[in-house]
Assembly symmetry: C2
Amino acid sequence: MFVYAKDRPVEDLGGGVTRKLLAHDGGLMQVEVAFEEGAVGALHSHPHEQLTYVLSGEFEFTIGDETRIVRAGDTLYKKSGVMHGCRCLKPGVLLDTFTPQRLDYLQK
Amino acid sequence: MFVYAKDRPVEDLGGGVTRKLLAHDGGLMQVEVAFEEGAVGALHSHPHEQLTYVLSGEFEFTIGDETRIVRAGDTLYKKSGVMHGCRCLKPGVLLDTFTPQRLDYLQK
């Protein structure tokens, strides 16, 4: 039930993006995703609902047909199946939370 | 879908604890809870599953029969119905995520 940041490995996704899988159980999963300046989270969609909390940095985020700039403390909700993606304007970290869990993240 | 930190009011819960309701929709709700040193989140339980991400500070956290110290970047999963609570050792902020939404937080 307790997951310590120091115990979690960092996975290099390439393109200036790394991921750290945090606490996950039942219907919830939390993941940190770190971006270098200019790195891109390509537009994609999935059936999972998702919240994104901006931990640091600055991002241009697209959800559906809306594109906006977000910074630390801002939060974004993505409903099931909606297209979304981002571009990192200033290096930073996003905290993604999914329901249900992204089982594809556990299959590595 | 975009919720800006600057637009969200801070609710004083008393006892050195304040709360800021962030993005919430569908099956997810995110809330920042800020604690002064020594402030307590009394032991309680609810049917909602919950993740807690420690944004800052230091907390002594109890989940069920386990009590541990957590700091920035650490995450905690609380299953439905489990007793949990915390005591703030160094001032900081917790990010709580619930599924389903805490509808009681919307009734104010």
